[in-house]
Symmetry: C2
C-alpha cells in the first residue's frame, strides 16, 4: 500500500531532535514536536527556540506544534521520528500502546539499544509495539546536531526495508544543507551507530592514557573491521561498510573533540572512576549503555570483538584502563 | 636465495628518515645514514642529533655512521631504506648506477611517485635501476615521525612480494613503541599513500572553505572508496582496504592538524594562490606532485576519481576551490 506523509512528528527535546525539527521545517508546513517538559514546551512556544539545546536555532511559530501530550502528537502524525536517548525510550513511550502506532511509519533517530530489552530500536518497535518491519526505519549520520544548527552541509542516510518510506522521508529532509542517501539496512546502520559510540569511548580512553594520533588511526581502522564482522554476523546482507552511514559516522564521533562518548572515555583514561566521570559530565554517554548491550548480545553471536570487550571490562568490571589497552594493542594490526 | 641483513642504510635527512634511524638503532649495532648536506652530517656527528628535524632525538654515537657519500653508504649496506621526498629521489640517486644496487634489498619509505617518470618508487627502482621486484619493498604508516620521536606506540606495515625480506626488515623495526605487520602489496600500499596526501589536501581545502566535521567524515569515507577503486584497478589483488596501512594512513593524515598536505589545502581553501601557499609554508606538500601524477596515470586506467579530479583542477587548472568543491558535494554520498 502506497502511503503519503501529510504530517510528521519528532519525539524528543534534545539537540538531535531539535536539529531534525529544524531540517523538517524546510519542506513541511507543520512539524509536530513532543517534548517531555512542560516548561520547555511553553518556552519554545513563547520564544521560538529550545532553551536547552541548539538555542541559536529559531523556529517559525506557524510551522511547529509543540506539546507534552505524546498521544496527541502521535495521533496527529503519519510518520513519527523518535529522537530521545535510548535509555529513556521505554519511559517516554510508557503510555503508548501498540494500537496508537497502528498504521504509523516510525523512524528511529536514536542510534541506540533499549537497555532493558537488549533490542535495537527497530526490533523494539517491532516486537513490543507490533509495528511491522516495513513501517520501521532508521535515520543515521555522520551528523553532529551542532553543525546542522549552523547549516553546515551534512549527509544523512535514511534506511528502511521499505524503500518507498525511506525515499518519502528523504524527500522531506533534503534541503540546501542536507543531502540524503537511501538504504535498506536498518539492522546494520543501527548496530553500527551503537558500536561507534563504544569505539568513541575507546578512543577517548586511549587519548586519556597518552596514546597518540598514530595509534588512534590504527584503533579506528580496527574498529570499522570490528563493526563489519559484527553486523555481517547479526544481519548478513550485502553492505559497503566504507559508506558514510557506517565509516563516516564512526569517524565523526571518534575524531570529534565534542563527542560526549569520547569525552567520557578520556576521563576514564585519565583515571576518573565511571561514577565520577558521569557526574562531572552531567550528560549521558550513550556508549556506556551500548557496550553492555552489545557485550550481552554478542554472547549469542560470538563475534571476535576485542575493542568492545576491553571497553566493557574497563567500564563494568573495573579493570585497569592502562592494562586493558596495553593488552588490546597486541590484538590490533 | 635466503638473505641475511647485516647492515642497513637510511637515505635522507628529513623527519621520517630521522625517525627510521631512531627505530633501527633499537635492534642494530650500526645504522648507515646518508644525508645530503655536509654541515648536517658534521652536526649530527658532533652533537648526536639532527639539527633540522626531530632534534629532540639523541643518537648513540657508536650506533650511527653518518656520511654524505651515497656510494659508500650503499656499498656498506645490505638493505637500503629510501626516505627522501619523491620529487628529490632522482636527483639524490643521480650518481648511483644499477650495478651499485645489485643484490641490495631496497625499501621505499617515501610514499610518493617519481614525478619525471610517473612511476611509484617500486616501479622506478625496478625499471630504471633493474632492482628485481623480489628485492623491493615499501614501509608505510599510519605514522607521524613526530610521534615516533616521542616513542608513542605506532604500527608500521612492511610490504614486499618477497615475504622473507619483509619479515626480516619487520624484525629490525619491531621495538617497544613500534609494531609491524607484513604485507605483499607494494603497489597498493604505495599508491594508497600517495592518494592519501591528495585527500589530505582536499580535506584542507574543504576546511578552509568552511565545511565542517560532518562533511569531512563523508569526504574521507568517499576517499577510501576512491583509493580502493583505484588500486584494485591498477593492481588487482586481494586486499582489505580497511587495514591500517590504507585506511589508517588516510585518517592519520587527513585528520591531522600537523599534516603539511592538509595545511597546504587549508590555505588554498582560504583563497591563497598555489604559489603563495607554497612560499608561506616553505615545505613541500607531497600531494601537490602526487595529484598530478595520479591524474596522468589515471588517463590509462579511467577510474572514476571525483575527489582527485577536483584537487587537480584546483591546483593545476586554477579552477575556483569553492565551485569545484560545491560540484564535488553532488558526487559524494
Amino acid at each position: 500500500m502506497s502511503k503519503t506523509i501529510n504530517s510528521i512528528a519528532v519525539i524528543g527535546g534534545g539537540s538531535w531532535a531539535t536539529a531534525i525539527v529544524k531540517i523538517l521545517c524546510n519542506n513541511s508546513d507543520k512539524v509536530n514536536w513532543w517534548v517531555r517538559n512542560s516548561e520547555t514546551a511553553e518556552y519554545i512556544k513563547k520564544y521560538k527556540h529550545n532553551p536547552n539545546y541548539l538555542s541559536s536555532v529559531e523556529f517559525e511559530a506557524s510551522k511547529i506544534f509543540v506539546s507534552t501530550d505524546l498521544k496527541e502528537i502521535i495521533s496527529k502524525s503519519d510518520l513519527i521520528v523518535l529522537a530521545v536517548p535510548s535509555a529513556f525510550l521505554k519511559e517516554a513511550l510508557k503510555e503508548i500502546k501498540a494500537e496508537d502506532l497502528k498504521n504509523k511509519i516510525v523512524f528511529s533517530a536514536i542510534k541506540g539499544i533499549v537497555p532493558e530489552n537488549n533490542l535495537i530500536v527497530a526490533e523494539f518497535l517491532n516486537q513490543i509495539y507490533k509495528v511491522p518491519l516495513e513501517n520501521i526505519g532508521v535515520i543515521t549520520g555522520p551528523c553532529h546536531a551542532e553543525e546542522v544548527a549552523m547549516e553546515k552541509l551534512s549527509y544523512l542516510t535514511i534506511a528502511s526495508q521499505n524503500t518507498e518510506n525511506a525515499t518519502l522521508l528523504a524527500s522531506k529532509l533534503n534541503c540546501r544543507y542536507i543531502k540524503t542517501t537511501v538504504s535498506d539496512d536498518i539492522y546494520g546502520t543501527e548496530y553500527s551507530s551503537v558500536l561507534k559510540n563504544v569505539f568513541a569511548i575507546a578512543s577517548g580512553i586511549c587519548h586519556g592514557l597518552g596514546y597518540g594520533d598514530n595509534f588512534q588511526a590504527v584503533l579506528i581502522s580496527n574498529a570499522i573491521q570490528e563493526i563489519k564482522k559484527f553486523v555481517d554476523k547479526v544481519h548478513p546482507i550485502e553492505r559497503d561498510i566504507k559508506s558514510s552511514a557506517y565509516l563516516g559516522d564512526l569517524m565523526v564521533t571518534a575524531y570529534s573533540q565534542f563527542s560526549r562518548n569520547r569525552t567520557f572515555g578520556n576521563m576514564i583514561g585519565k583515571g576518573y572512576s565511571v561514577k565520577t566521570a558521569q557526574m562531572e559530565m552531567n550528560m549521558i554517554a550513550e556508549g556506556y549503555y551500548g557496550v553492555k548491550c552489545i557485550y550481552e548480545i554478542n554472547k549469542k553471536y560470538n563475534v571476535e570483538t576485542p575493542i568492545t570487550d576491553a571497553v566493557y571490562r574497563i567500564l563494568y568490571e573495573k579493570m585497569s584502563p592502562a592494562i586493558e589497552m596495553r593488552l588490546l594493542t597486541d590484538k590490533l594490526s
